[in-house]
C-alpha cells in the first residue's frame, strides 16, 4: 500500500519581509522578553496562577487548544490516505505542516508552563511511567505523534533537496525516501490512532476533578466530547488556514476543494452538539444554563456562537460557496466552539472550593501566548517558502 500521490506543490516565491511579517516578528520578540522573565524569575513573577488555580492560559490555550487545532493533521491524513479521497490531496501538506508546527509549539508552550521544564523528558523514561495517569497517556501519545509527524515530513524534504544538494545528503534522502515509501501507510494509520487516543485523553484530564468542574462541563464523556470536537475542528482549521494563506500570498482560494470539504463539517458539529445536549439532559443540569453566572454565559456563548450558528451557516449552500462566509463560519467554530470550550474546561468551569477569586490570565501570560502563536505563523511562512507545501499555481485558470 502506498499513500495517495501528492498533487504538484512548490515553494512559495514571494517576498518574505512583508509588513505582516514585521508585526509578527515584533510580537515574537516581545514574547521572548516575557519568556526570559518567566525563566529567570519563576512562574509566580509573571502569571496569575495560584494554589487554587494551578492550570491557566498556557495549559488551556497553548497546550489543550493547540492540540485540538492541530487536529487538522490527522483528520486530513485520514481523509486523503485512508478514505482515499485523492481530490483533497492539495490540502494534505499544508494541514500536515500546521499539525507538525502546532504540536512543536505545544511542546514549547508546555515547557514554559512546567515548573521544572528541564524534566520534560521524564514521562518518556520507563521507570517513571504511570499508566494510571491520563496526563501520562496524553504525554506519551503526543511525543510519539510528534515523531510520526516529523517522519511523515521527510518525503517533502526529500522532494525539495534530492538532486540539488551535496552527494551524501542526496544519498541519505534517497535512502530514507525509498524506505518510507514502503512503510508510510503504517505511519499514516499510526498517526491517526495516536491522535484519537490523546485527543480523547486530553478530555479525561479534567474528569479527575468531579468536585471542581462546573456541572455544565463535568461529564464522564468529556473524552468523547474532546475527540469529537477535535475531529470536527480539523476541516475548519484547514479552511481557515487555506483562505488565510491564499489571501496572504495573493493566491487563488481553492474553493473547488474547500467547499466540498466544508460540507463534511456540519454533520460533525451536529454530532458533537447532539451528544452534548443528550449528556446535559441525561445529567439533568439544564437549569444551570440560566443561573446567570459567568459559567452560564460562557456556556451559551460556546454552544451558540461556537455550535449552533456555524453549524447552521455551513449547512447553507450559499454561505458555504462564499469564501468570506465560509471563513467566518469556520473561524467561529474554531474560536467559540473549540478554543472557548478548552478555556472553559480548564479554568472557567474549574471552580475549586477554596478559590479566593476567579483566575484571569495576566498580561505576561497573554504576551507569551501571543509570542508563541506569532512564532508559529512565522515558521509556517518560512516552511512554505522553503519547502513544496502549497499547491503549484496553475498557469491557466
Amino acid at each position: 500500500m502506498t499513500p495517495v500521490r501528492h498533487s504538484v506543490a512548490e515553494p512559495v516565491a514571494k517576498k518574505f519581509f512583508t509588513p505582516g511579517v514585521k508585526v509578527l516578528l515584533t510580537l515574537f520578540g516581545l514574547g521572548v522578553l516575557f519568556g526570559l522573565y518567566r525563566f529567570i524569575f519563576g512562574l509566580g513573577s509573571i502569571t496569575h496562577l495560584n494554589n487554587q488555580y494551578p492550570l491557566g492560559l498556557w495549559i488551556g490555550v497553548d497546550v489543550a487548544t493547540g492540540v485540538a487545532l492541530a487536529g487538522g493533521g490527522f483528520t486530513t491524513a485520514a481523509l486523503i490516505h485512508i478514505f482515499y479521497r485523492g481530490k483533497y490531496s492539495i490540502i494534505g501538506r499544508p494541514a500536515h505542516l500546521t499539525a507538525m508546527l502546532g504540536y512543536t509549539f505545544v511542546a514549547f508552550g508546555l515547557m514554559i508552563d512546567l515548573g521544572r521544564w528541564y524534566n520534560i523528558w521524564h514521562p518518556a523514561w520507563p521507570a517513571m511511567w504511570n499508566g494510571n495517569s491520563a496526563l501520562f497517556e496524553v504525554g506519551i501519545c503526543v511525543m510519539l505523534y510528534l515523531t510520526v509527524l516529523y517522519i511523515e515530513f521527510i518525503p517533502i524534504v526529500a522532494e525539495r533537496f534530492i538532486g540539488n544538494s551535496p552527494k551524501w545528503i542526496d544519498g541519505i534522502l534517497r535512502f530514507l525516501n525509498r524506505i518510507l515509501g514502503k512503510v508510510m501507510w503504517f505511519f499514516l494509520i499510526f498517526g491517526v490512532v495516536l491522535s484519537c487516543l490523546h485527543q480523547s485523553s486530553l478530555g479525561t484530564l479534567m474528569v479527575i476533578a468531579p468536585y471542581k468542574i462546573h456541572p455544565l462541563w463535568y461529564t464522564q464523556i468529556l473524552p468523547l466530547l474532546f475527540l469529537l470536537s477535535a475531529i470536527g475542528v480539523g476541516f475548519p482549521m484547514v479552511i481557515f488556514e487555506g483562505i488565510w494563506a491564499a489571501k496572504s500570498f495573493g493566491r487563488k482560494i481553492e474553493m473547488d476543494v474547500l467547499e466540498p470539504l466544508a460540507r463534511m463539517i456540519s454533520p460533525f458539529i451536529g454530532l458533537y452538539f447532539f451528544v452534548r445536549i443528550i449528556d446535559i439532559t441525561v445529567r439533568e443540569v439544564w437549569h444551570y444554563v440560566l443561573e446567570g453566572s459567568l459559567q452560564s454565559f460562557m456556556f451559551i456563548l460556546e454552544m451558540g456562537l461556537g455550535g449552533l450558528v456555524p453549524m447552521v451557516m455551513l449547512f447553507s449552500d450559499r454561505l458555504r460557496k462564499s469564501p468570506k462566509w465560509l471563513f467566518i463560519a469556520s473561524t467561529m467554530y474554531i474560536v467559540f466552539g473549540v478554543l472557548l470550550n478548552r478555556v472553559n474546561v480548564f479554568f472557567i468551569a474549574y471552580q475549586p472550593a477554596y478559590k479566593v477569586s476567579q483566575y484571569i490570565p495576566s498580561i505576561g501570560e497573554f504576551m507569551i501566548t501571543i509570542g508563541l502563536i506569532s512564532a508559529l505563523l512565522l515558521c509556517y511562512r518560512i516552511f512554505v517558502t522553503v519547502f513544496p507545501i502549497l499547491p503549484a499555481e496553475r498557469k491557466t485558470a
Binding site: 500500500m1 494554589n51 521524564h122 504511570n130 499508566g131 501520562f136 484519537c196 479527575i208 475527540l227
Partner: protein, 306 residues
C-alpha cells in the same frame, strides 16, 4: 469484573472505528486499591482543639521552613479569615462557630489527608507521588517532578501547593506525615508531639476508627455521628471527629467513590491489553485497503480519466 468486561466489549463494538469508548456506564464499577490494616493515621478531635496553632509552628520547625517565634502564633486575628495550607506551611488551623456554645468555638486543623486511594498518586504523570505501602503516607519525590501541577488540579482537598516564586527548582509542597520520623522510628508527626491538648491521636487507622466510634457512642451530644475521612473518597488516613458536620467547617462533602476511579476506569478500558488501539489500527488499515482497491477499480474502468 464480568459486568465491566461485557460493558467494555459492548462499548468497543459500538465505538467501532472512531475509537470512542464511552465509559460513563462503567464508573460505578469502581475499582478499589487494596487497603492495608497496618496503615497509620491520625484522629483529630476538633472539639478538643483550642486553636493555639502550636502545630503550625512545630510543622515549620520540623520541616525546616521559615518560621516565626512561637509567641507570635498566639495572634488570634488570623482566624478572621479562612486560611489554607501554602508553600510555606503544610498545615493551618481555622476557627468555626459553635452554635451550642458560642464561647467555645471549634478549631479545624487542615493538612494533607493521606488518602487511601489518592488522586495525586493516580494523576501524577511521572509517579512523583506514591502511597507508602508500609505506613500509608502519601509521599512526594521532587526529583521526579516535572512541575505540571496536575496533582493540584486533581486533589479534591486542594492540599498540594506550589513554590511559584522558585524559578529553578520549584516543589509541590504538602504535609509529609513527617515521613522520615514515621518510617525510621515509627514516631508520630511533629504537630502531634507539640499539641498541648492531645487533640490528635496517632495510630493504626483501623484502631483510630474504633476509638472514634467509641467516643461518639459515649458522648452522643458532643459529636455528630460521622467520622470524616472514614468513607469519604475511599477513606483517608487523617480522620476527624466534630461537633458540627465537617462540611459546615471548611471541608467539602464528598461521596465514597475514590477520585482515581473516575479517570482510571476510562483509561484502563481504553487501553485494556492495548486491544482498543490495535482494533482501531486494524479497522483503519482495512478501510485504507478497501478504499484503495475501490479507487483503483474506478480508475481502470474509467480508463484512467483522473
Amino acid at each position: 469484573m464480568d459486568l465491566s468486561r461485557r460493558n467494555f466489549l459492548k462499548c468497543t463494538a459500538v465505538a467501532g472505528s472512531l475509537g470512542m469508548v464511552n465509559s460513563a456506564t462503567l464508573v460505578q464499577a469502581a475499582h478499589r486499591r487494596p487497603v492495608s490494616p497496618d496503615w497509620l493515621g491520625v484522629l483529630v478531635d476538633t472539639t478538643v482543639c483550642i486553636g493555639c496553632r502550636r502545630c503550625e509552628w512545630a510543622c515549620r520547625d520540623f520541616n525546616q521552613m521559615p518560621n516565626k517565634p512561637i509567641a507570635e502564633y498566639e495572634d488570634k486575628s488570623v482566624f478572621d479569615e479562612l486560611r489554607r495550607p501554602s508553600a510555606t506551611g503544610h498545615t493551618v488551623v481555622n476557627r468555626f462557630d459553635n452554635p451550642q456554645n458560642p464561647q467555645r468555638p471549634y478549631y479545624v486543623k487542615v493538612q494533607c489527608m493521606h488518602c487511601n486511594d489518592a488522586a495525586c498518586v493516580s494523576a501524577c504523570i511521572v509517579g512523583a507521588f506514591s502511597k507508602d505501602q508500609e505506613t500509608g503516607a502519601v509521599k512526594y519525590e521532587p526529583w521526579k517532578c516535572i512541575g505540571c501541577r496536575y496533582c493540584m488540579a486533581a486533589c479534591p482537598f486542594q492540599v498540594p501547593t506550589y513554590e511559584y516564586s522558585n524559578a529553578l527548582t520549584p516543589r509541590v509542597q504538602k504535609c509529609t506525615f513527617c515521613f522520615e520520623n514515621l518510617k525510621k522510628y515509627g514516631r508520630q508527626p511533629a504537630c502531634l508531639e507539640m499539641c498541648p491538648m492531645e487533640t490528635m491521636i496517632f495510630g493504626k487507622r483501623e484502631e483510630l476508627l474504633e476509638i472514634a466510634h467509641d467516643r461518639i457512642r459515649k458522648y452522643p451530644d458532643r459529636y455528630v455521628d460521622h467520622v470524616y475521612g472514614e468513607h469519604e473518597l475511599g477513606g483517608t488516613a487523617w480522620l476527624y471527629l466534630s461537633g458540627r458536620p465537617m462540611w459546615e467547617m471548611g471541608m467539602v462533602k464528598f461521596n465514597d467513590t475514590p477520585i482515581p476511579s473516575y479517570t482510571e476506569t476510562i483509561q484502563h478500558n481504553l487501553f485494556k491489553n492495548f486491544l482498543p488501539p490495535l482494533a482501531l489500527f486494524a479497522g483503519l488499515a482495512s478501510l485504507m485497503y478497501i478504499f484503495k482497491r475501490e479507487e483503483e477499480r474506478d480508475e481502470s474502468s474509467e480508463g484512467g480519466e483522473k
